[in-house]
Symmetry: C2
């Protein structure tokens, strides 16, 4: 099965980045139990103070899609929505390397 990767860029509303980071880190903690989720790393931008990037690696696109319909994902999204000004996703096909 082909793996699936994503760089998800979250732009927080002014002053809400750290609160949003907290919710994303909780989502990452929940993902510890999801075998199909191989990476879910939360990053602060070096240059944009309101931005968070999440580096995601999944065993398949379907596994990522399935995670979106989990009850705890939906709850996290609902909590995060009021803090978010924008989201952009860069979708990737991982082909190899260290940590692949």
């Amino acid at each position: 099965m082909e793996k699936f990767g994503m760089y998800a860029k979250f732009t927080a509303k002014p002053g809400r980045r750290d609160e949003l980071a907290g919710i994303l880190l909780e989502a990452a903690a929940a993902a510890q139990h999801v075998e199909e989720c191989e990476l879910y790393i939360v990053n602060i931008s070096d240059t944009e103070p309101d931005v968070l990037w999440v580096t995601e690696l999944w065993s398949s696109f379907e596994a990522h899609e399935a995670s979106l319909s989990l009850e705890e994902t939906k709850t996290a999204i609902q909590r995060a929505m009021p803090l978010i000004a924008g989201v952009e996703a860069t979708k990737l096909k991982p082909i190899g390397g260290k940590g692949f």
Copy 2:
């Protein structure tokens, strides 16, 4: 020590992407022996046919900088240069998550 992350976007010259991917995968294989390099994943873009993204995670910014002065890195860069139309780097401060 603070970790360092980077999304490196390589735009290959037309028709040279797969050749460039080969060089990046060789660099990733060399990185297997570099303890400070935690991730070096080579990805194809879902939407841009000439683009490769490398997801990098390092134990520190200094470890990443040091890797650039290794003889094998310099050789790889020299081989890759003729295939590359452009490079952009998104620098990140990883703060936690799965695979952090």
